[in-house]
Amino acid sequence: MKINSPLEAYKYLPATNCGKCGEQTCMAFAAHLIDRSMKLTDCTPLLEEKFKKKFKELDKLLEPEIREIEIGVGEKIAKIGGDDVLYRHKLTFFNQTKFAYDVWDTMDEEELVERVNYIQNFKKFYVGNFLTVDMIAIRSVSDDPERFASTVKKVLETTELPVILCSFNHNVLKAGLELAKDRNPLLYAANKNNWKEVAELALKYDVPVTLFAPDDLDLLKSMAKTFAEMGTEKLVLDPGTFPTGKQLKQTFTNFTKVRRAGIDGDREIAYPIMAVPFTAWMAHDDPVSASYWETVVASVLTVKYGDIMILHSTEPYAMLPELHIRDTIYTDPRKPVTVDPGMYKVGSPDKDSPVLVTTNFALTYYTVESDIASNKIDCYLWAIDTDGIGVEAAVAGGQLTAAKVKKGIDESGFDLKKDTSHNTIVLPGLAARLQGDVEDETGASVLIGPADSGRIPGWMEKNWPPQKK
């Protein structure tokens, strides 16, 4: 955005401190505008006619540097772009990279439906939510408009996920568009040969379009400028993803250059970037090597500015790391690292339920909690204040010690002797070396749980209730 201090935004607000936005003062609201945690429309008074001009001006100033593009419709709509910074700690990255997995028009129907279903149903539980993937990219291998159309039709019938229509032949794209026009698909792609025809389609159907200029940033920018002039800024830029050697290095350079120019304020190139790690399959014959390399390229370009990408491997060993590296990069770094230390109940524990110790590192805490809860185990979960450091590191670094455990227990008001029938603490397996010390400090008996909370259910079967000594 063009401004970076709350004061600059404040000038445009009504300055009545009416509180309708939920903030006490306009200045507080202005601060939320700058860190993008609230929207301008949350200030309802500003929507009044008399403030129209100010609203417009401020809205313009607050626009993110990189344009935000929408693909698809309804609940599954995918937004890409919208970033304001080059490093996540400067604010946060917005609109996580969207992953499109490919299907192609020479697949037989059964195989096609199966693949689409696999993609749309893929999920991985993580810190209270499921990680999922986003889109289907439909490739025309046949170059036959009719064949492409029937594949598009089948895909649209099978999924609500947004789609990318992939062909360099405008007749093929048109055939797909005719069917998908109500689903706001992304066109892939206009290049230096077909751009006039593809532009016509993008304008006529009013859909977003990818501009493809492999390793030619001048051409890429020319195309972006031309398309904008013709009337569409719903653009995605593909500077080409070359999978190996010096070409891959150049790809990396192109991605970082395009994004830097955009964030630096060059509006003509300030669009989301498309990566195509799919090209790894052009460099590797063996499917495991190709999957690995595709995942590696995808990960690099997720970290460095890819906003959307087309992928081929649907092996879990490709998709899981892709989902997690994306989460890594797009997690808001301003969100708290810790949960409040203290005693938490999971399920409805009673006197006979176990007392498990973990750290107050949010990630550790939520992982343990979800493992327990999803297996319907009732227990007490003790989050010890380790300054938000995970178990293994906290034991090594001295943030998780017997004294800390004792202190945590004392401060929580929970009385092991009175509130449990067993006076037993279960330490995480990775804190096994603290067993003796914790017994000495607390006077409770101490059991060592598994090193991974995913194994708590099995551990419970064998070790709970504890044998009376």
Binding site: R139, G231, T253
Partner: protein, 441 residues
Amino acid sequence: MTNKMKLKELSDILQDLNVESLEGVTIEGDIELNISGGGGLNPALAYALGNEISQISLHMANIGRMLGFPAEQLFASAFQSGEMPQTDKFTTSPKLQELLDSKFEVSKIDSWKNTIQEVTLGASSADGGSRKSTVTLGGENALPYYFDAEMPHRNYITMDVFDMPIGMAKAVKGNYEDVINDPAEWAKKVVRDFNADMVTIHLISTDPLINDTSAREAAKIVEDVLQAVDVPIVIGGSGNPEKDPEVLEKAAEVAEGERVLLASASLNLDYERVAKAAIDHGHVVLSWTQLEINAQKELNRKLMKQCNLPRESIIMDPTTAALGYGLDYAYTNMERIRLAGLMGDDELTFPMSSGTTNAWGAREAWMVASPLKQDSDWGPREYRGPIWEIVTGLALSLAGNDMFMMMHPTSVQVLKELTQTLYGSIDAEELDISNWIGMEV
């Protein structure tokens, strides 16, 4: 309205439209439009012409309707849509015949003024050691692989060797079963078979809670490893803050002159002792903190000011958390450290090292299957583990990490391939991707 219409009225309508005044357009005889200029027409003029012509046709169509002809249907079918909503788009956007000229430009970052300290590990006979190869880290003037400045040294990988059998993920263990009781053979194997640039010997058996191996005994293992391989080595303690300084001291003594990396000094142990051992015997210290940039500054400052450790003898380990288990903090911590260093914070201008092996702590790396029933199938773990280590490492390589401590041979191979590709030292056959869409896979 009357159904009759005279030709005169038609010409009046046309007159109202001012068509005659439009240059390049004349209406002759049986309403023939003649547009001169063709493809070379300038876009603005073409647009204006298009607008006029559309206006005319609209009026013509009205005339047609007055005459009882359903002209709107004709338009609808001609434009292949119900209500001609797209005409709107066309009237506001000029259709261009040529791409507009534009040159891509981007500036280099001028606030990156500082150079990261160069640190060399290992010493050859010329420098009083016995290593055949040495490794130099650091020297960067930009973020890794960026076009702003050439990166002077590639990334290096040191592979883990332990002084006793330890619990390992199945996929890792398979590679070391034959050498698990012999650190020297283990070290040889990672250099010979797995292309390790360096070897880390972890003296974990010295932990009083494990075997309590004496510092003197442990030093013998260090000697064995130095004998077995001729690459630079890293010496790691057990992580016990009371015992480690003594263990590292003895190890430093027997490794005199070899310029090993002592891992590590931290704020919760006697770092002065570790620093002194490095100074006395010509080694480098790994300055280890836990995901806290200010703690890293503090420790580096203490090592330099309080212990007089030279700048070229410090490498930082700001802690590596596994992918999915805090890598976001580890990544950003490193990126901030490197950016601060480049922008002039002299307490942070040191090369960095990552305990990438930590990735194997993630359940996704080693568990047979997801413990959660709702998850999609996790697939075979022998492929999941190595890629977990690779992706953890590659993210940190982009944040500025120079050296990786790793465990699985496949991970080492792939991460080397990637980091050296981005560094620019790997050639591959050039590929034409311009038609990638049609590829059969």
